[in-house]
């Protein structure tokens, strides 16, 4: 709409920043491509490129770990965790952002701890509890276990976002007859899209990458990709480097697809205040 769409401004500081960014990404590309190339290489010794190319590392891993099933499980688990942690976490974040009440610090600390404590501390007793009530060993147990750090994560990331929203907008909605549910769905949710997206993506990343809690609570049918990946990497025994690379590439590819899908639905930079965006800077 703005007739003068500017291009990224080039101030001296700007050049330094963009230079650093470019340097970072060139090297990052090196990091990523070295794995990608290796995963398709037959042998790669002290040379620029492997001596030959093959796809069999992928095929082998795919079969060995029944990766189709594993990926389906991974998608299911992470999808559920994202949705549930937002549903449970966002309302709590709302209260923490909007209200001062006696005991707020204690509540805050309680939500902080699961993020601070390594799963070693609570993983095994948690798994016991989940086995006791028949959740562990199934998808539901994996989901519940992963929610333990995810819910607080959503709460912590969402709180500042909610603080940014002018409370009078909510007041206006209430005056128009919107109850808490409608205020959440019709007003806050759209305004918090960047926040929901950001914390959703981060929860997703963390869940897909969460090894301990998943391993401790998963049954044979509910292992996720990261379990297979860690196994391939660190189980006793011999595994070709390339096959670990192939698994890592598949892991990343899956995450990438998830990310791209997420970004397709919502643009992270889509601002509600977009029409107010600085036109001249």
């Amino acid at each position: 709409m703005n007739p003068k769409v500017r291009s990224v401004r080039a101030t001296p500081l700007g050049w330094v920043i963009w230079g650093a960014v470019v340097f970072f990404f060139v090297n990052l590309a090196g990091v990523v491509f070295s794995v990608l190339v290796s995963s398709f290489g037959t042998k790669w010794f002290d040379t620029w490129l492997p001596s030959g190319f093959t796809t069999h590392w992928y095929g082998d891993a795919w079969r060995e770990f029944t990766l189709f099933h594993v990926i389906v499980v991974t998608l299911l688990v992470s999808g559920l965790v994202v949705v549930l942690s937002v549903l449970v976490g966002a309302p709590a974040a709302y209260v923490l952002a909007r209200k001062n009440f006696p005991g707020k610090r204690l509540v805050y600390l309680t939500f902080l701890l699961p993020i601070l404590m390594p799963p070693i501390t609570y993983g095994i007793p948690l798994a016991t509890v989940l086995y006791k009530f028949g959740f562990a060993g199934h998808l539901s147990g994996v989901v519940l276990a992963n929610l333990v750090p995810s819910v607080p994560f959503v709460i912590l990331t969402m709180t500042p976002f909610i603080e940014q929203v002018d409370p009078r907008i909510e007041d206006a909605a209430r005056m128009l007859g919107a109850g808490t549910r409608s205020v959440f769905l019709k007003i806050l949710a759209p305004l918090l899209v960047p926040g929901l997206l950001a914390s959703g993506i981060l929860v997703l990343v963390r869940t897909v990458g969460m090894f301990e809690l998943t391993f401790l609570t998963a049954g044979p049918d509910s292992q996720t990709l990261v379990v297979a990946l860690y196994y391939s990497m660190s189980a006793a025994g011999i595994r070709a480097q390339q096959s670990v690379d192939a698994m890592a590439v598949m892991y990343t590819a899956m995450m990438l697809v998830l990310l791209v899908v997420a970004l397709r639905f919502v643009n992270p930079t889509q601002l509600v205040a977009r029409v107010k965006e600085e036109p001249s800077e």
Binding site: I169, D171, A172, A173, M175, G177, V272, V275, K276
Partner: protein
């Protein structure tokens, strides 16, 4: 749901108080007692910061009361959440939903009531037309001018036809012409739908012309409640007078009393005024008179024109009497700064308050 809870005959505010700071500081709103009848149009009036918006927010349920209660007939409602009270509100800062278009902003409340699509559509369109925003219906609030935003806020609140409408300076950003039109429109809605309206404004003329009763406030406290005519012609205190446009507030001495008539001395000339409250002879008083009621005459109080401001047809003139007392007046006559003039006060228009 909402409509059922919100029909009422009487709305009663009983000692409604709201503090923001510690109890030893003056409250933003202090012990407001007010009974509003169904169908009334009440204007809250008073200087900036006097607690008008606070009162409105308490009534709406957006601010919890520090003390007092609010009753709808025999039901106590001050603990109900805003969405259960079923009142409509136009916010001073508009509080439009930034992610919704003009149309969707206005339709929001109707949708919350789950009205049939066609109804929503029709009523929304009507409301958009009423506030003359048909050309802008699909813009987002951020793409609107200030006055356009304000009109969206008005339409959004009134399209619901709530039994009580609270409006916080709804016309402050509109030009005179549009303001007049919107005034008429708001009055029309008020009457044709049988609404009850509480209207905050800083504009006396608006208050006087629209309201059935005025509530004049100052520093969180009610100064006067009365019909426009009462407040206009008989301000209860000199503060109210000050606020109601009695721009000339002259600290004088009461020289003579006859019943409720007082004589005061201004620049050597004795002028008669009506005593408002207990005034005794030789008391320090404040004499209040509007610029419109001070005329340039052939004889009377002598003064020196100091400032002349052109204001359309009339001129606002400042005259210094006695070298220190300043009198403001309006005249259609051409006068120049430095000119010597004689002033007369329209009989019966000088009010005398205890100082």
């Amino acid at each position: 749901m909402t409509s059922s809870t919100s029909n009422f005959e009487l709305l009663r505010l009983d000692g409604v108080t709201r503090r923001f700071g510690p109890a030893d500081q003056p409250a933003a709103l202090s012990e407001l007692d007010l009974t509003i009848e169904r169908g009334e149009f009440i204007a809250l009036l008073g200087p900036s910061g006097c607690g008008k918006s606070t009162a409105l927010n308490c009534l709406a349920g957006l601010l919890p009361l520090t003390a007092g209660s609010i009753w709808q007939d025999d039901r106590r409602i001050d603990t109900l959440p805003p969405e259960k009270r079923g009142f409509g509100m136009v916010f001073q800062n508009y509080a439009l939903f930034p992610h919704l278009t003009v149309r969707d902003n206005i339709a929001f409340g109707l949708r919350m009531r789950n009205l049939p699509k066609a109804d929503v559509q029709r009523r929304t369109t009507e409301a958009i037309d009423m506030v003359q925003l048909a050309d802008h219906a699909s813009k987002l609030p951020g793409q609107l001018s200030g006055g356009q935003q304000q009109r969206v806020a008005i339409a959004r609140a009134t399209v619901l036809e709530p039994s009580l409408v609270l409006m916080d300076e709804p016309l402050s950003n509109l030009d005179a012409k549009l303001r007049l039109e919107m005034r008429t429109e708001i009055r029309r809605l008020h009457q044709s739908l049988g609404l009850t309206t509480v209207y905050v404004t800083h504009d006396q003329e608006e208050a006087l012309s629209m309201a059935d009763r005025l509530v004049v406030m100052r520093q969180g406290k009610v100064q006067q409640i009365g019909t426009p005519e009462q407040v206009h012609t008989k301000p209860a205190t000199w503060h109210v007078a000050d606020f109601m446009g009695y721009r000339n507030l002259l600290p004088l001495k009461a020289s003579q009393l006859h019943g409720d008539q007082v004589t005061v001395d201004l620049g050597g000339t004795a002028i008669r005024g009506a005593a408002q409250g207990a005034v005794a002879q030789d008391d320090d008083v404040i004499a209040a008179v509007r610029p419109e009621d001070v005329k340039i005459a052939d004889q009377g109080v002598k003064g020196l024109v100091e400032v002349v401001e052109y204001q359309g047809r009339e001129r606002a003139v400042e005259v210094v009497v006695d070298g220190e007392t300043r009198l403001h007046l309006r005249t259609e006559q051409r006068v120049e700064p430095g000119e010597q003039v004689a002033l007369a006060v329209t009989p019966g228009r000088l009010l005398v308050y205890p100082a």
